[in-house]
């Protein structure tokens, strides 16, 4: 399935005659010009061989088989000579054809690979706000299906289209040369065939598009129904689901039947034209023979060439639509490539002193679009200290992380690290020194070891210490191949708690100066929770910590606590002083610790009054 995870794009039609677009597409193939030229040269050999054969049959008939002026032995000898040449020609044709296919595939794939790599690198370099506005399915489609579309055009169309045109042209020339009158009669068919083909290609394209849309709908519906089968069954939705599926399925069938009807009309129509040509040759060509203006061999050659003529015409329409969809893809790809990151990257400063981990926010304001998220936020964390941020969902806690990581820029105010404003720092340098652990963990499809190290190098002993500190040792010991166990897509699936522990190991391996921790709200089982707790403690040791905290143990351990509400700091201090204030903080903590203030009430409501 090539529909990028439920995301389906109505395929827009490309402009086949857009020269600017063509120039850009062609520029990618320039490094491969030698191979492409050799493919074109080979295509001459292929066409030459396929066209030489009917001509040789004609020669055989006219010069040897029907030529009674020669002696029988000379005629047979001539035939043998001709047969020998024939063998040579067909072998050459075969070889040229094979080489051409392989060379084209090789160049096409390499061109597409470069384009894909460029696009992938480009996309990863874009700002986070870009990703918020563009669904990931759409971007994946660019990288996969759109590139694939262009590849199809490169290999199967451009050169075969060239082949076909050359072939048609050559056949017309040969026919004109052999007998121009008959050739002119036959060429009356060309406009008819062209009109038929163009009309057909439009109808076929629309039909296929409708089929693809319907199929995508069926697939995403079924995917969802199967994934949620338990819920559908518990809520007794089977009948309704089946009913809706049958409707989708029927819609798909109708579109398929429509496509079959179109093909049932147009495919035989092409053959009909081919028969018209045969009949014309017999009738008009025969007349010419009677008038002795044409030989029998020529007639046979005409019949054979007509067959060759109709072959490429059959799939011309299909190729035209491939070019159209490829041009639409090209347009989308270039559009994405032309999207520039909002802020230009800051150069790495040579001799930048190592980060100490002194973080401060100075009157920072920030809004996503129009929604104000942070208002006049100021705080300071000294190196090695831990700052905990607590507050309800939507109070702006995560935005602090996003600003510090330079994913977004503040609307006003400054953020300093070691007294340097972060907008003057290279983001790569900065991010290497900030360790981020978030609720969701990014798992690469690779071994546990590779997932911990990513691009870093650590000795075996060092790694052992890291795993130990991250409380991951137990997890690793239980995996079938220990550290070398493959995880992620196609490998062992880790639980969310285990992934959290892995994220701590990852941070420890990178040894950052500042640890930013966005604690998970979702509960894990109690044993894992204790492990995570220890991992947090060992990761925070000797580092500046900024923690969006949910766990009491983490909050209590912090040197300073900010209580946030609606993008503002409403309370701050250490644990004890905040508890003494008896404000929001105390209320938040009491919820965390115990629902008992309200639960007796709930329980009494739940209980049957008559019991």
């Amino acid at each position: 399935m090539r529909y990028g995870y439920g995301y389906f794009e109505e395929d827009k039609l490309g402009k086949v005659a857009d020269t600017g677009l063509w120039r850009r597409v062609v520029s990618y193939s320039v490094p491969y010009w030698k191979r492409l030229v050799s493919a074109i040269l080979l295509s001459f050999a292929v066409i030459g061989a396929s066209l030489a054969l009917p001509y040789m049959v004609r020669l055989g008939i006219d010069q040897y088989i029907t030529n009674t002026s020669l002696e029988t032995s000379a005629r047979i000898g001539g035939l043998s000579m001709l047969a020998g040449t024939f063998v040579g020609v067909i072998l050459c044709g075969f070889l040229a054809n094979f080489l051409q296919v392989v060379i084209l595939e090789w160049s096409g794939q390499n061109i597409m690979h470069e384009m894909r790599q460029q696009l992938f690198g480009h996309v990863l370099g874009l700002d986070l706000s870009f990703f918020n506005n563009n669904p990931s399915g759409k971007l994946v489609t660019r990288l996969t299906n759109d590139i694939q579309n262009m590849h199809e055009m490169f290999t199967s169309v451009i050169v075969t289209l060239f082949n076909d045109f050359m072939k048609l042209l050559a056949i017309l020339i040969i026919l004109l040369w052999m007998n121009w009158r008959l050739a002119l009669v036959l060429s009356l068919l060309v406009p008819l065939i062209t009109a038929n083909t163009l009309w057909f290609s439009r109808l076929a394209r629309d039909a296929f598009r409708a089929i693809r849309t319907r199929l995508a709908r069926i697939n995403s519906f079924l995917q969802e129904a199967l994934a949620g089968i338990s819920v559908l069954q518990i809520f007794m939705r089977q009948e309704d689901t089946l009913h809706r599926f049958t409707e989708l399925s029927n819609g798909y069938l109708q579109k398929n039947l429509y496509q079959i009807r179109i093909f049932s009309i147009f495919m035989p129509a092409i053959d009909l034209f081919s028969s018209i040509a045969t009949a014309s040759i017999i009738w008009y060509g025969g007349g010419q023979i009677i008038q002795e203006q044409m030989s029998l061999g020529e007639l046979a050659a005409f019949l054979a060439y007509m067959r060759l003529f109709f072959q490429p015409i059959r799939d011309l329409s299909q190729k035209y639509s491939i070019v159209q969809s490829a041009m639409a893809s090209a347009e989308r790809i270039f559009q994405l490539l032309d999207t520039l990151p909002a802020s230009s990257p800051v150069r790495m400063i040579p001799g930048q002193p190592e980060m100490k981990g002194d973080v401060s926010f100075h009157h920072v304001h920030f809004a996503y679009d129009t929604e104000q998220v942070l208002s006049d936020l100021s705080f300071h964390v000294a190196p090695g200290k831990t700052l905990a941020i607590v507050g309800a969902t939507g109070s702006g806690k995560s935005t602090i992380v996003n600003l510090l990581e330079k994913f977004y820029e503040p609307d006003s105010g400054q953020i300093y690290i070691d007294g340097q404003e972060i907008s003057t720092l290279n983001s790569q340098w900065l991010r290497e020194r900030l360790g981020l652990v978030m609720q969701d963990v990014f798992i690469v499809p690779a071994t546990v070891r590779e997932n911990i190290l990513l691009d870093k190098k650590r000795g075996e002993g060092e790694l052992e210490v890291i795993i130990d500190k991250a409380q991951l040792a137990g997890v690793v010991a239980n995996l079938p191949e220990g550290l070398e166990t493959r995880i992620g897509e196609g490998g062992v699936e880790l639980s969310s708690g285990q992934k959290q522990l892995l994220a701590f190991a990852r941070v420890l391996a990178r040894n950052p100066r500042v640890l930013i921790l966005d604690e998970a709200t979702s509960s894990v089982d109690s044993v894992t929770e204790i492990l995570i707790d220890r991992a947090i403690a060992s990761t925070l040791a000797n580092r500046t910590g900024i923690v969006i905290a949910h766990r009491l143990s983490t909050i209590r351990r912090a040197d300073h606590i900010l209580v946030m509400d609606n993008g503002r700091i409403v309370e701050q201090g250490n644990h004890q002083s905040l508890l003494d204030q008896d404000g929001i903080y105390r209320r938040l903590l009491s919820l965390q610790a115990n629902h008992s203030d309200l639960l007796p009430n709930l329980a009494s409501q739940v209980m049957d009054p008559n019991r």
Binding site: H113, L242, S264, D525
Partner: protein
């Protein structure tokens, strides 16, 4: 011997599997008869055409041709061509259309069957696997019954007829001409099998690249935070290079397959030119025969290629059909009780007696001799991951079968009640909230499509999700999914809660259904849903003990057993496990403070 035996049994299996399709064939028999008649018509007319060409050429050679006779021949050829075109339309439409109808029929039946299967089945078969079945395997069956059947009949008829006509002209020349053909049939078969295999490889690689790109893009913030842009691009490049390699391997086969068929066709042509030419020179056959012979030869090339292709098509179709049939052979282990009696259950009392449950393929039971009774009021359940809590919920909601005399609902054995009746008494909130790509309204109203907007808003308010829904551009009409609003885990769980609240059933189960909701919101929710749970049997599973403190009873589960039972205070004093978790979660802060 053994290979032979397995092959025979494979054939027998295929015959058995075909029973799945026979009703469809029967239903469309007239369509099929007419379609194949038209196909034979095409073949017949096609074979006649060279006869007329031959007659015309012979007449020209002998000098007996006149303008009128030539026109007549041309007219015959045209007439045949029109006949061919009409018949082609008929068979294409009827037979290919049939294969699409068959596909639709099979797909609908498959989905209907899947919907009736229980959870054990879905545990053994992943969604991806079933999706592949519905797309790839059905497509393979469709191809085999559509183009496959057509090509097989067509190739057979054309081969026999063309051979007969050729033999009629000259048997010896026919033998010589067709000598290279078996090579073509065998090679096509071998190559197209390999082609299919390599094509699959290419598709798999394409799929893993897609997955890689998706996972990179969907966690872009982490990737950037870890400065993995470079590494990821390199890894993607490595996959891309593998993709090139697989494609080249495929291209080599493709590059061989098609030119090879024209190579063989040309070899035959060469033989005819040489030997046939000799025969013509010697006067054994006429020049008209010679040209007609060449025409028949061209007709043979396609069936020879088709034989190899069709064999693979049938084989693939048979394998796919076997896979589909295997799914149809699956029956829900949970036997529904057929009874027209309606059961207005008087109470929501649930009694479990000596329930044990082991997942297939596992040795240790997840539930081990569990007995308990849930009546009005709230029962909390705590325990480690894997202690059997969720399995218990799945059994209560009848997703897994139970033995007789184990599970009772309002004092009636559930096996004596229709599954629908049991489920209609339960509202269930799972941990993994399933949200469908529909409007939010439709998602909440999943169990009661007739619910009014007021009712929906009311439960959404109780689940603390109403305000957030109102911030979406289209409110309750916003669609969920990639093209609509994206919901966080907590939002999904609260929608699932609202969905269950709307049902107003005597039994209410929350299976850790608020785990992704922050503590403060959970607190508000528990307060607001109180009125909805009044007088109901309410089972709440949670990792946060704080949410369960006020329950009437709390069960502590470990290794599939209920190890302790009592209210919060009792457990705190008497159960070490419970007390440990509690003190860890609360950190005893408040008491110190």
């Amino acid at each position: 011997m053994r290979a032979n035996a397995t092959r025979t049994s494979w054939r027998a299996d295929t015959a058995k599997n075909l029973s799945l399709l026979i009703p469809v064939f029967k239903r469309h028999r007239f369509r099929l008869i007419l379609g194949f008649t038209a196909l034979l018509g095409v073949d017949f007319f096609q074979l006649l055409t060279p006869r007329f060409i031959k007659k015309a050429v012979d007449a020209l050679e002998e000098g007996t041709a006149s303008g009128a006779s030539l026109l007549q021949y041309a007219a015959y050829i045209m007439l045949l061509a029109v006949g061919i075109a009409c018949c082609r339309f008929v068979w294409r439409y009827l037979i290919i259309g049939f294969s699409r109808m068959l596909e639709r029929d099979l797909r609908d039946r498959l989905v209907a069957h899947l919907l009736s299967l229980d959870r054990r089945f879905f545990q053994r078969h992943s969604t991806g696997e079933l999706m592949a079945l519905s797309s790839n395997d059905l497509a393979a069956v469709q191809l085999a019954t559509g183009m496959g059947m057509i090509a097989a009949v067509d190739a057979l008829v054309m081969t026999l007829a063309a051979l007969a006509f050729m033999a009629y002209i000259n048997p010896m020349l026919t033998l010589i001409a067709v000598a290279p053909m078996p090579v073509l049939a065998i090679t096509t078969r071998m190559l197209s099998a390999r082609l299919h295999k390599r094509f699959k490889k290419v598709q798999e690689q394409f799929a893993s690249m897609t997955e890689f790109a998706r996972s990179a893009i969907s966690s872009i913030h982490l990737l950037k935070a870890y400065t993995q842009e470079q590494t990821q691009t390199e890894q993607f490049g490595q996959m891309g290079r593998d993709y090139i390699r697989h494609n080249l391997k495929l291209a080599i086969i493709q590059g061989l397959l098609f030119p090879f068929s024209s190579l063989i066709g040309n070899c035959s042509l060469l033989l005819v030119l040489f030997f046939g030419g000799r025969l013509t020179v010697q006067g054994t056959i006429t020049i008209g025969d010679f040209i007609a012979f060449i025409s028949y030869l061209f007709m043979l090339t396609w069936p020879m290629m088709a034989i190899g292709w069709v064999t693979n098509l049938f084989q693939r179709g048979a394998t796919s059909l076997a896979r589909i049939k295997a799914i149809f052979a699956e029956e829900p282990e949970l036997r529904d009780c057929v009874s027209s009696e309606s059961f207005p259950l008087k109470s929501g009392e649930v009694r479990v007696q000596g329930l044990s449950f082991t997942y297939p393929g596992q040795l240790t039971p997840v539930l081990d001799d569990v007995s308990m009774t849930f009546t009005h009021g709230m029962v909390g359940v705590v325990g480690k991951t894997g202690s059997g809590k969720t399995t218990l919920c799945h059994i209560l909601t009848r997703l897994y079968p139970v033995a007789d005399g184990v599970l009772f609902l309002a004092e009636r054995d559930v096996n004596a009640l229709p599954v629908a009746t049991v489920r209609n008494n339960i509202a269930y909130v799972p941990q993994e909230a399933t949200i469908f790509s529909e409007t939010i309204q439709a998602n909440i109203a999943l169990g009661r499509m007739d619910a009014s907007m007021e009712e929906i808003e009311e439960v959404a308010k109780a689940a603390s999700i109403h305000d957030e829904i109102m911030t979406f551009a289209d409110g309750y009409q916003s669609r969920v999914g990639e093209r609509g609003v994206k919901l966080s885990g907590g939002q999904r769980q609260r929608i699932a809660l609202a969905r269950a609240l709307l049902l107003d059933r005597p039994i209410f189960i929350i299976d850790d259904g608020l785990s992704a909701v922050d503590t403060e919101t959970e607190h508000t929710i528990l307060q607001d849903i109180g009125p909805y749970l009044q007088g109901k049997t309410c089972i709440v599973i949670s990792h946060r003990i704080a949410s369960l403190v006020g329950a009437d009873r709390i069960l502590v589960m470990d290794k599939g057993k209920i190890v302790a039972e009592g209210d919060h205070q009792f457990l705190l004093e008497n159960n070490v496990f419970y007390a440990t978790i509690y003190s860890h979660q609360t950190d005893s802060v408040l008491r110190e403070g």
